[in-house]
Amino acid sequence: MTRDTNAIETRELTKRFGTEIAVDGLDLTVDHGTVYGFLGPNGAGKTTTMRMLTSLTRPTDGEAWIDGRPVSERDSIRTSIGYLPEEPPVFDELTGREQLEYFGRLRDLPATEMETRIEDWLDRFDLIDDADKRIDDYSKGMRQKIGLIQALVHEPDVVFLDEPTSGLDPRAARTVLDVIAELTDHGHTVFLSTHILSVVEELADVVGVLYEGDLVTEGSPAELTARMEAEEGTTLEDVFLSVTAERGPTASESAPGNAGDATARRDGRVEDDERIADR
């Protein structure tokens, strides 16, 4: 079954590991050509969600589509996605260029086009001089850059990036942010998971905050800060801290604005109607 609506769509997407709920009935809609900033504290279920959306993990319940194609059809979505996991997926024994050529060939890119693209990306990320050194000898930032190029070299429609600026120096991080902005200009969709809130604030069209497997708030950065109804100068960080605060009377009382609405039930979970987000 294919749907010709959104770049990413999930309906009641759920993942359980035994009795543990990692992602609980996630409903998401991400438009083409946008950046979706996916936030959440450690262990919130962000990586599990990305693994489900990239077909690496089977959902326990619910459905998800990439470019209208269900994620259960791995072979059909694989060509549409690029994925940079938190740990750059590189082979230490290969050189940077060999790594990129390997994945380019596996992606069936025409040889000349592949070489041109790889050269362009290496140049863009200032890696030309080191391209023929083994990845063994690369710094963390260089490995990250190779992983990012690998996710982008086949020009996928939807790119999943898990902490893409991790380990990068400010200049390289800026290059990555510029690249992400350009991707959306060209109609690509970026699903961006990061802890660096300023990155999301700058790039994301829509931000979703996942907490204990629930999407506790969603909206544009401006909408989210506006919802706080707090004093001027409220930032995305304030929103994040408020919606991911310990769910209890003390925590919620201390949170500014509407955050108090995110009070928890005794079982520690928030019901849909109690979320501050209007999705």
């Binding site: 035994g18 077909s55 082979f91 024994e93 290969l94 596996l106």
Partner: protein
């Protein structure tokens, strides 16, 4: 891209990566060279043996040669499946960067590439040595038709055996990731399997394991490979069975490919069981070993308690220290088989206990601190606490067991009770001193990098060189005790010197004790100096 092109690319890259890894690792290169040197005479002998076998077959009219040929190929198939399966389990089915691969190509391409890489590796050996042996055999038998027949059979053997090995390995891995029990006890299972394997080697009992497998496979088409290989030899090979072998291979490969795809998908997309750790009480050590905390200084007790806690929570990290126990396999099996404990067993227990005691915690005093090393070095007198603490951790844990086992085995053996007591004293001194011996060696040849000790566990273990030097040192200081208490040498010494066996045994104990203490003290001083002056590179 054509469907077969991706697996070929994956296989080529896998082989290139493995070769580069090997090139960069001196130990692996040496091991490869050693294996090559060892295999060369066997290979040449095998080729010559094939020539002789060919000649024997040509001149024989009475032997049931076709039965032998069938049996040989069934056993050959079992060998390929067994070792192919082991390699698949231990090496091939653990590709790096699996997520990257699976979001780029299908799992079918990945498993296809991995199987292809193994096939190439096996073929490199089988089809080179195999070709030479085939030609020699054909020349000996005087039958040219044998060359293509044998080579084809070898190819079919690999084409069915390697995938079958992968299927077995995938089956085991799938069971492992789904069963909580198997996940928890994987180390124990592998350890028992290893012990069983060495026990089979030491007791020459392979036949008793292989025989039932052969009986199961003999009535199957695997038995037909012998007929295909023997075509042209005129020893009664059935052409129908030979053709059947080819047809069977085709069918087997089709079924195997489908099974490999399915099993690989099950494995790589499995959630796996989640082993969660219950909250640990941080005062575990203190409450359990309260007496010890009163005797030892706080820093030393802290090192001992942490060593024991880490060992209890991650015993697999210390699996390297169990290697010496392999020497116990042979004498133990013999004791079980004969129902008698010889004079040698207590000595083997003493030796392996001493070996383990020193290597467990003391053989990488600096390196095993890992990421905590900078903080440890800035603590109060780290040289004293680390060196003494790690020595005591091993000695307090292993020495009592070693002494008790040595004395009990000594009493049950033909040794007299006083000699058994002398052995007990040796066990006590040596197993207590071996840690001290290990400390100096460990700081001179440390290892700081973590290595994989299981699929999901990395640990900083002592360097191979430190382990080798330590092993030699322990053997040397133990030698007087071993000689003095061994049946033949001890008796000979007693006769030559003209004293009784107890005096010889006690002398051996005394000399070993003096040696061990001297070497241990020097080694500990070296360790203390190195730790005290250690600077992060």
């Amino acid at each position: 891209m054509r469907r077969a092109k991706r697996p070929r690319l994956i296989a080529r890259t896998e082989l290139r990566r493995r070769w580069r890894t090997m090139k960069g690792n001196t130990m692996q290169l040496l091991a490869l060279a050693f294996a090559g040197v060892m295999l060369l005479p066997f290979s040449l002998g095998g080729v010559f043996g094939a020539y002789l076998a060919g000649g024997f077959i040509a001149g024989s009219e009475t032997e049931p040669l076709i039965e032998w040929a069938r049996m040989a190929f069934v056993y050959g198939w079992i060998f390929v499946v067994g070792f192919g399966g082991y390699r698949a389990y231990a090496v091939a089915l653990r590709p790096d960067n699996l997520d990257g691969l699976l979001t780029t190509v299908s799992h079918r391409d990945v498993i296809g590439g991995l199987v292809l890489a193994e096939l190439v590796l096996w073929s490199a050996f089988f089809l080179t040595v195999g070709s030479a042996a085939t030609v020699a055999f054909a020349v000996g038998a005087g039958s040219l038709l044998t060359i293509p027949a044998l080579l084809l059979t070898l190819c079919l053997l690999l084409a069915t055996g390697i995938p079958a090995g992968f299927i077995l390995a995938l089956g085991v891995r799938n069971a492992g990731v789904r069963s909580r029990l198997l996940s928890r006890l994987r180390t124990l299972f592998l350890f028992l399997l290893g012990i069983g394997y060495f026990a089979l080697i030491f007791t020459n009992a392979f036949a008793s394991v292989l025989e039932p497998i052969y009986r199961v496979l003999a009535p199957t088409p695997i038995d037909w490979f012998g007929d295909l290989a023997a075509l042209g030899l005129g020893i009664g090979a059935s052409p129908l069975r030979a053709i059947g072998a080819v047809g069977f291979t085709g069918a087997f490969v089709v079924v195997a490919i489908a099974s490999l795809y399915r099993l690989a998908a099950w494995l790589w997309y499995a959630d796996g069981v989640h082993i969660t750790h219950e909250a640990e009480r941080s005062d575990d050590g203190a409450s359990r070993f309260q007496g010890l905390s009163k005797v030892l200084s706080q820093p030393v007790f802290g090192v001992v308690a942490v060593d024991w806690k880490r060992a209890r929570r991650s015993p697999i990290s210390l699996s390297f220290a169990l290697y010496p126990l392999i020497v116990l396999a042979g004498p133990s099996v013999t004791a079980v088989q004969t129902g008698e404990i010889g004079t040698g067993l207590p000595l083997w227990i003493l030796l392996s206990g001493t070996w383990v005691s020193g290597s467990l915690f003391a053989l990488n005093v600096v390196g095993q601190e890992g990421a905590a090393l900078p903080v440890t070095l800035l603590s109060e007198a780290p040289d004293r606490s680390l060196v003494i603490g790690h020595v005591l951790s091993g000695a307090l844990l292993i020495a009592p067991v070693t002494v008790a086992a040595t004395v009990i085995a000594g009493i049950l053996s033909p040794h007299s009770v006083p000699v058994a007591a002398s052995l007990g004293v040796s066990a006590l001194v040596l197993s207590a001193a071996s840690g001290a011996i290990g400390t100096g060696i460990g700081v001179v040849f440390p290892r700081f990098e973590a290595v994989s000790v299981s699929r999901s566990t990395k640990a900083i273990v002592p360097s191979a060189f430190a382990f080798a030097v330590y092993s030699v040192a322990v053997l040397v200081v133990s030698l007087p005790t071993v000689i003095a208490h061994s049946g033949i040498a001890g008796h000979a010494l007693a006769s030559v010197i003209g004293v009784n066996r107890l005096a010889i045994g006690l002398s051996g104990t005394l000399v070993s004790a003096v040696f061990a203490c001297l070497v241990g003290i020097v080694s500990m001083y070296v360790a203390r100096d190195r730790v005290r002056d250690y600077r992060l590179g």
